[in-house]
């Protein structure tokens, strides 16, 4: 990626790219899959480094960003630090941080498939669910993505808008639901999906790759009769 495009991406993410150049950038993005991938990462990392959403950053993440940029921890607020960094460099500074903290998400997200205490999945012992989930296989941290701290209960103060950690295929799983049938289910469901969720459902249907990622196979147990 040329420095000019890096500058354009950063300027766009700062809301400072003129309309004419925005159109050019959009055209490049629609043609260049690699640029799209990079852009997706920059969008998240740039958000963190610009401090656009200060209420949503954990102090831990801000510290790690500072550590990456200056080589030492700086407990100062994020925004002044980011402003000292050249625009074109900001996304790359974030990439280093992301790699360093990727393991945190793996630990954090192991709990994802576990029912909350006192709420059992009908017909399935909670321990059975855990046994089927391979912590290392179920969780993939997208390369280059910044990752949140182990978050506590959700509140306005500790919203973490930076993580892009998604479950993905376990190594031993085959397609649990045939892609063609899954598409039919999703389409039929989209009629009733409420709220903004509908947009995600429709967007997913627009995306070319209709073979969804599979996660861990479910415990082969019958529902309670």
């Amino acid at each position: 990626m040329s420095e000019q495009i890096r500058e354009q991406v950063s300027a766009f993410l700062d809301g400072e790219l003129p309309d004419s150049e925005t159109d050019l950038l959009l055209k490049r993005l629609t043609r260049d899959a690699e640029l799209r991938d990079s852009f997706g990462r920059y969008a998240l990392i740039g958000e963190a480094l610009r401090g656009a959403s200060p209420g949503m950053l954990t102090q831990g993440f801000a510290s790690r960003v500072n550590l990456s940029i200056d080589g030492e921890p700086v407990p100062a607020p994020l925004q002044p630090q980011a402003s000292r960094t050249p625009r074109w460099w900001r996304p790359f500074a974030g990439l280093g941080v992301a790699a360093g903290v990727a393991a945190v998400a793996i630990v954090t997200f192991q709990q994802r498939a576990v029912a909350p205490p006192g709420v059992a999945t009908p017909g399935v012992a909670t321990s059975g669910v855990v046994a089927q989930v391979s912590p290392a296989a179920v969780i993939k941290v997208a390369p280059g993505m910044p990752v949140a701290d182990a978050a506590g209960p959700l509140s306005a103060q500790n919203h973490e808008a930076l993580s892009y950690t998604v479950p993905t295929a376990s190594s031993e799983s085959n397609a649990a639901i045939a892609p063609a049938r899954l598409t039919n289910y999703v389409f039929a469901h989209s009629k009733y999906s409420s709220g903004l969720g509908q947009r995600g459902v429709l967007a997913d249907l627009l995306i070319e790759d209709d073979a969804p990622a599979q996660v861990a196979p479910a415990p082969v147990k019958r529902a309670a009769q």
């Binding site: 399935v124 649990a176 045939a178 063609a180």
Partner: protein, 351 residues
């Protein structure tokens, strides 16, 4: 009497002013800062305004560029949602008819969609019940696309549902950026505009699909008159996550199937989960819409699959395929699917 009243009136005046101020304060707050009012403004803008924008859909580490065009003219709503990257897929809704152009599958699907909201979605009116499961609050304002934006968070109170963060344009209430988040605040899906215009008029050409439809297979689906068999209709969720309840019970013939499936919809007022109960499929009795690659897929399905921002979970219950799908966490679809069984009469699911 007048003399007596004057001092009293004099004394009452500041109280009246204070009273008026105190009365007005909540109204001011409702008018300017109440996050619910902003969500209503957003819904109104999404449904009633003309807009033409390009936005990014970021999910699972993938970035997709899409264009949305929405026009309201003479009471008719026409909108177009198109992928600008690769697939060439497009959706066009003309009032109550949805056309899906799927050039990579050489197929165009046409089906009725009544009482459906805009492609960009909206949030429902939040009733008292929703408050039990979601926290709605304003977060510090910021800038998106160089515009002042009000930030609203709709946060789930447990792990059975997702929440949203919305960056709403201060001037138009349009959602410039939206994040779908889990109960820990982790972002699952993000949508943000690169460009958003709100013109007075939008030409017909902007709402025409760019897809060339010559040689494509057109599939028209009429209004569903399907009825599920009494056997399938007897199934339902015996237990539900807190706040979820049955909102729709119907039947639908899914692609590749020869008989209607029972279709149940459960909602907590914001999130929805569909449950499909199907008879075991007979590969030799496929519907005309079935494709050859459907054949090996008739084996019973068992397990969890990610579907964009949500999940699907399929299991077998007494020889029937039960699949729960929704933009909810994995454990919610698993919970519901595993609780499906034959319900006796008026048996209501427990929470």
């Amino acid at each position: 009497m007048t003399e007596v009243l004057r001092p009293r009136a004099h004394w009452l005046a500041p109280c009246a002013v204070m009273g008026a101020l105190l009365t007005a304060l909540p109204l001011c707050a409702l008018g300017s800062d109440d996050p619910r009012e902003w969500l209503e403004k957003m819904n109104h803008a999404l449904a009633t305004r003309n807009y033409d924008g390009t936005f990014f859909h970021l999910s699972e580490g993938r970035l997709e560029t899409m264009r949305i065009v929405h026009r309201v003219r003479g009471g008719r709503v026409t909108e177009r949602l198109a992928s600008l990257d690769g697939s060439g897929r497009e959706f066009v809704r003309n009032n109550d008819e949805l056309t899906c152009y799927l050039p990579d599958q050489h197929t165009v699907l046409v089906e009725p969609r009544q009482d459906h909201g805009p492609f960009l979605g909206s949030l429902p009116q939040f009733g008292a019940a929703v408050n039990d499961f979601y926290l709605i609050e304003s977060l510090p304002s910021t800038h998106v696309l160089g515009r002042a934006a009000r930030v609203i968070a709709v946060s789930p109170k447990d792990q059975f549902r997702f929440g949203y963060r919305l960056w709403l344009d201060e001037k138009t209430a349009m959602p410039l950026k939206t994040q779908l988040c889990d109960s820990r605040g982790q972002v699952i899906e993000q949508i943000f505009f690169a460009r958003l215009d709100m013109p007075e008029t939008i030409a017909d050409a902007e709402l025409q699909p760019a897809v060339r439809t010559e040689g494509m297979h057109w599939v028209h689906q009429g209004p569903s008159r399907d009825t599920a068999s009494s056997v399938l209709s007897a199934y339902g969720a015996s237990e539900l996550p807190p706040g979820f309840h049955l909102t729709v019970q119907g039947a639908q013939t899914l692609g590749g199937a020869s008989v209607p499936a029972s279709h149940l919809v459960y909602s907590d007022g914001l999130a929805t989960v569909s449950v499909f109960v199907e008879a075991e499929r007979d590969p030799s009795a496929q519907s005309p819409g079935a494709t050859p690659h459907d054949a090996p897929q008739e084996a019973p399905m068992q397990g969890l699959a990610r579907v964009g921002s949500g999940f699907a979970f399929s299991t077998m219950v007494q020889g029937h395929q039960v699949t729960a799908v929704g933009e909810v966490p994995a454990q919610t679809v698993e919970f519901i699917a595993h609780s499906v069984k034959v319900l006796n009469g008026s048996e209501a699911p427990s929470h």
